[in-house]
Symmetry: C2
Subunit: 341 residues, 2 copies
């Protein structure tokens, strides 16, 4: 069976319509004819269902750059997994924006209303703007043509940690951390602020509690801690060692604490914070649920960095969340996880 | 027991020499007296072995910045782990360069010759030049004062893969990859070049083999592959999509292949390559041993990025290796791994 390519669309006859659209969800009907996007036509050529398009076989059709190679690879992979899918062309699908392919639930097709995944195809070398990742599935094609799928979401980050804090606990600012001498034990034990200099802080009194600058800045601002020079002394030190990143991290820290979530350093996981949604006491601590990386809102991801973050988070059974922190103080939360379609 | 601080050294008397140096490896004898580095004096104050230095107790001594807080934390941690150690001061240890602390093997002390670890103390916020990491143990203190140790080494990267390649296999350059149509099966099966477009490439013929640009550039240069436009066509495409990073990656790829090591993409691990030291056939592939990240030789690491790489590599039981690739073509290999002293 043959077909012709014109203005970026492949046209085939009535038989193609019955065989490819009605039976297997390729293309869009146009009267008695069938219109196929190049990626669909390439797949039919590859399978031998179409013999030629304007005389071109599969190799020539791909080589003529009529069809983006990456999109073909992802289209083929999703078909191999048993899905029907459509190119996200204007007029072909209801919401094409941001997507390259629209995947239907198993057993459904273009004649149904449901959509399982809206897929964007990118090379591992492309940069992907964080703002474009809302409910999109990224299909990243690596340099050896393997495909990994990343699901994106805007999660609701809240917790249930409750703590009635003391006031005006004296503390010393020391280089890039803060020390509290003989602190109220619950500051650590119940609310999980800081880290005792020695011991586990549970079975014995805490002689010295070490706080990070971001913990200290929050506690000074909320009146719990008293440091010489006040809040601005802590903020100044924070800017000194981290620049404007300190403000962004403090904003995320504050939002999390205000929502009942306990953030602790995510350093060991290469992140800004790991978080606990519900802390009652540090000796009955549950697994931390999220890894949070703080980013400016105009951040663009290299897919390789995303792969690294998401893989590590998966390996320690946590969810990778990015906190996109605007200058106005607003935070957009973006979660990214591996998907096996 | 008291002591005095002068010009960055704490001086104590004969009794201190017996009690602290002879019995527990603190300081250096000076005639009948004992000289203590501030970090050692701080530790003795912290333990209550010294009462005061010029009237200062532990809190005042730390606060006076007589002793860097981070160095104290690491010194204390290593003492807690049962090690004797010395500050790496000129004249105190034989090779102080690049180190802050010299740690003796368990059971040994400053009066012995052996050294277990040369330790450099850094904040998680410091940048660490790759060139300074040769046989040094990095003690990274995170913002919450937890300490993680990273061991560095210059590994010998070699393999035993052997393959007698064909010549002049025709291939098509297509966007940022290369396709070989009905290739000699051993190109994939035995030498593990590329990725079949369909099937596992083992039990059936390979119709289409997909190569990365870096694989293709190597194979064209060595005469195995023939592409329209020759080597320069592949190199041009590589520069187009990756800039000068392509040259660095190709240099590392070439060196690995020339040494009998098979590099494949490390994308899923956020690295440039994963490597197999000895491939006989892809259907009997062993576990890949290294994750390789290619970097310019003047690279400085953020400890957080190092932590992420090393943690991920550890999680998948691979060794993290950095290939520092100079303009002259020379490659310095640097391995970094977690250490529990």
């Amino acid at each position: 069976m043959d077909a012709t390519l014109s203005e970026g669309v492949v046209r085939a006859g009535r038989q193609a319509r019955e065989q490819f659209y009605d039976a297997r969800g390729y293309g869009r009907p146009d009267g008695e004819d069938l219109l196929l996007a190049p990626v669909e036509a390439a797949h039919l050529l590859y399978r031998g269902d179409l013999d030629a398009i304007d005389g071109m076989g599969f190799r020539a059709f791909l080589g003529a750059a009529a069809c983006p190679a990456l999109r073909f690879l992802v289209y083929k992979d999703l078909r191999d997994r048993g899905f029907y899918l459509s190119p996200a062309r204007e007029d072909w699908v209801s919401d094409p924006s941001g997507a390259d392919l629209v995947v239907y639930p198993r057993g459904s097709g273009p004649w149904d209303d449901e959509v399982a995944h809206r897929v964007r195809v990118v090379s591992e070398r492309a940069m992907v703007a964080a703002t474009e990742l809302d409910g999109i599935v990224l299909a990243v094609v690596d340099e050896e043509s393997e495909i990994a799928y990343l699901d994106t979401d805007r999660p609701d980050v809240t917790g249930a940690t409750d703590y009635d804090p003391p006031a005006d606990v004296p503390a010393d600012l020391l280089a890039d951390r803060v020390l509290v001498w003989t602190p109220p034990a619950d500051l650590y034990r119940q609310a999980f602020y800081g880290q005792p200099l020695s011991g586990d802080g549970v079975d014995e009194d805490i002689e010295t509690l070490q706080l990070s600058l971001v913990e200290a800045a929050y506690l000074v601002r909320t009146g719990v801690l008293a440091v010489e020079g006040g809040e601005s002394a802590v903020l100044d030190r924070g800017h000194e060692v981290e620049g404007e990143r300190f403000d962004r991290r403090l904003r995320v820290y504050t939002t999390l604490r205000d929502r009942g979530v306990v953030p602790k350093t995510g350093y060991k996981f290469g992140a800004d914070f790991r978080t606990y949604a519900d802390v009652e006491s540090v000796d009955a601590l549950s697994h931390s649920e999220l890894l949070v990386r703080v980013l400016p809102p105009d951040h663009a991801f290299a897919p390789r960095d995303l792969a690294l973050d998401v893989r590590l988070a998966g390996g320690v059974r946590k969810r990778m969340v990015f906190a996109l922190t605007g200058a106005n103080g607003e935070i957009d939360w973006l979660s990214v996880s591996r998907l096996t379609p």
